[in-house]
Subunit: 428 residues, 2 copies
């Protein structure tokens, strides 16, 4: 029989304990921050009926990047490529029981069949934070503070990233009432802008000309603006401009200065209706956005329930991990969660060692008992390689006198303690 | 356009925050216990190439209960129905770099297309604990202590469950050398025993007769035994018996008395080679096992690498949740993770409230700022319904004097504190 392959599924990753510690570090920090902002955790299946994504997720993702299959009951299933349709479905499902406004978060798996490259994985983990039930800019501002606090918790300096902000309403105003593009031109231009950073400038300009003809220069001029106040007066008289201006002013008052208006920011999803943003890493190695999100006030309408304003963002594990690694901000993942390793001088002490381990565990110490059957030297070496903090060797003396010589594996210092003393030192 | 359905995918569950708190409570307790036993977390994709399961997972599951599909690249993919093949693949993949013995755990999603009934879900969460690299009974005993400590942490009394234990080697001895069943009879009998609790006793006996003819009584007699010492002498002279006897004796010495030998215990998977066990709830409502596992010393052979002995168990979220609920052991899930709700007397204080929230968050307090725009009474009522512990109303006095009247929502007591005082009371 041919051997079964040991490789993970193509585009997915195995998380050995060293790598798992990094994922746990990142999402542990994130969980702490989002809970400190009053967000509550929810979850759902990674499987959804495919119809959920057809309405609003955006053509490219649904047609080219989803995992779809027919289940044994004939249902058309999609592995969720993003969380916004799911969370909107859940909101719509209990529209009349839920207590708005809501702040919800989820950390979990998402799936996209993308071409493999740096910063991508076909299965990835993502944080999604969403707020429901409030239309005012107050919630836009509250939401924008979260990614910044997450980056701070991950020890990222403000200088290393930039918040790029735009507004779908503003984009519509520009295209419809300033450029006077028709529906088809508008559609083509928004898809083109979304690809702007992926294609050559000359090609981009050429395509704008193909779509807009002699209105090309007017449009390209707008795209060069990166300060709200430089927009044409006609645009400044719109509600969308007011909305975005208020958001930016509040950010500034709260001490957030590393943001800028970016009229070329589009976000790929069709459901956004207001402010949209992405947080970009300011270095050459990580050219994808770390966070992205925006306001989607009409999404629950696809479920036939009354309107619920929504706003949210997502953050993927692959890009943030690459970014933190670039800046040497990942923790030392060779350090184990195990506090204490109990070596055993002879098998005849096994029962006593197990009982001691039981008592230590009841005192919140993470204890690993040697089961290798190897000689003492090899046991200690093993504990050291595992990255365990402390070691005790258990023999007749230890069992009879209940005194334990505790070895600190970092400093090689040894000191004797009774049972109570062990807890104090190890958990200190 | 027809409305999109708000229901989750059939057989899967939505976890609204109240339900999520319960899942987090259960797996939080579990994580604490398995880490205290020196297990380290790993993870992998839920997608595996289907070939991984054909070798050893067992016919019924692979042919009738897996989610299979062909991806956009033509690969045959299965959503993992269980973790043992995946963890074995990972062990085989780094066979020469890993430091044995290993204790690994995973908490995550598994998939089975089963008929829906109590205690089942097509997507479920499972804890898997596995140890690799040790053949001796020492590791069997170490492993068996873990589920017991988990149940203790979940406040389950020893009287509410029973550890049922058997040994694949012993089953083989009985069938081959005591009953003298041929290969085909052995195969049929093991599949039949596995279904024993699901079919009528008379039908079971009838089927045994169909397979074994006049050896029926001899075989049924063995199945009645629930004490190792009552086994026939011929069986007692085997290595498998010795092995199981040693495990049981050690358990007894360590104070575990709620176990019993169960010759009808089979476990559905084809890969087990030694001790097998299940932990059953001792009540009428929860007739499925809470934990199940065993020894599988030859599994990595399917990858063509040198033998690595393995032993492990799994525990699903649905059965344990039902079990805890039956015995009133679930926590009050109406209590939120949010420590403090800041009400706002007037929008003009918004900026000050946001700055206060920022400082409180930096002091590890989970703060929710009101964004509803509602009147004060409605804000306080909202905080109460959310299950928040404390409320402060922010107005001009609070901002100018930096003194805050803290309301305890449980007792309705109010007391004034400065900033430092808040932290002490709220996090106490």
């Amino acid at each position: 029989m041919k051997n079964v392959s040991t490789e993970p599924y193509k585009g997915a990753r195995d998380f050995y304990p060293e790598e798992m510690r990094i994922r746990n570090y990142i999402f542990g920090a994130i969980r702490k921050v989002v809970e400190s902002h009053g967000f509550e955790e929810y979850d759902a299946s990674i499987m959804e009926e495919s119809s959920l994504y057809r309405a609003k997720t955006g053509e490219e993702i649904v047609n080219e990047q989803t995992y779809n299959f027919i289940d044994r009951g004939g249902r058309e299933v999609t592995l969720r490529p993003e969380m916004t349709p799911t969370v909107s479905r859940m909101i719509a499902r209990k529209r009349n029981q839920l207590l708005f406004p809501l702040r919800w978060f989820n950390i979990g798996r998402r799936y996209r069949y993308e071409r493999m490259q740096r910063g991508r994985s076909r299965e990835f983990w993502q944080l999604d934070c969403d707020m429901f039930g409030v239309e005012s800019v107050v919630s836009d501002v509250e939401l924008l503070l979260v990614p910044r606090d997450i980056l701070k918790e991950l020890r990222v300096d403000d200088k290393l990233f930039e918040i790029r902000i735009n507004h779908r309403g503003l984009v519509n105003e520009i295209l419809k009432n300033y450029i006077h593009a028709d529906d088809q031109q508008t559609y083509k231009l928004s898809k083109l802008i979304d690809r702007k950073n992926k294609i050559e400038k000359s090609l981009f300009d050429k395509e704008v000309e193909n779509i807009l003809g002699d209105k090309k220069e007017l449009f390209l001029g707008i795209l060069e603006i990166n300060n709200l106040s430089d927009l044409p007066d006609q645009i400044k008289q719109t509600g969308a401009y007011d909305n975005l201006k208020q958001i930016c002013d509040s950010l500034e008052k709260l001490g957030v200065t590393n943001y800028r208006f970016d009229p070329t920011l589009m976000r790929g999803f069709d459901y956004y209706t207001g402010m949209i943003f992405e947080i970009f890493a300011l270095d050459n190695k990580n050219n994808r956005s770390l966070f992205g999100g925006g306001r989607y006030d009409n999404l629950v309408a696809i479920f036939g329930v009354d309107k619920v304003p929504g706003i949210g963002f997502g953050m993927g594990d692959v890009t943030i991990r690459d970014f933190l690694e670039t800046h040497n901000l990942l923790p030392n993942n060779a350090v184990s969660n195990i506090d204490l390793y109990l070596c055993i001088l002879d098998e005849k002490y096994r029962l006593d060692v197990e009982l001691l381990a039981r008592d230590l565990r009841a005192n919140k110490i993470n204890v690993c008992v040697d089961i290798s059957g190897k000689k003492l030297g090899a046991q200690i070496k093993h504990a050291d390689k595992m990255g365990v903090g402390y070691v005790i060797v258990i023999g007749e003396n230890e069992i009879n006198n209940k005194k334990y010589l505790l070895k600190n594996m970092l400093t090689s210092e040894q000191q004797e303690f009774d049972f109570e003393g062990l807890g104090k030192v190890i958990l200190n």
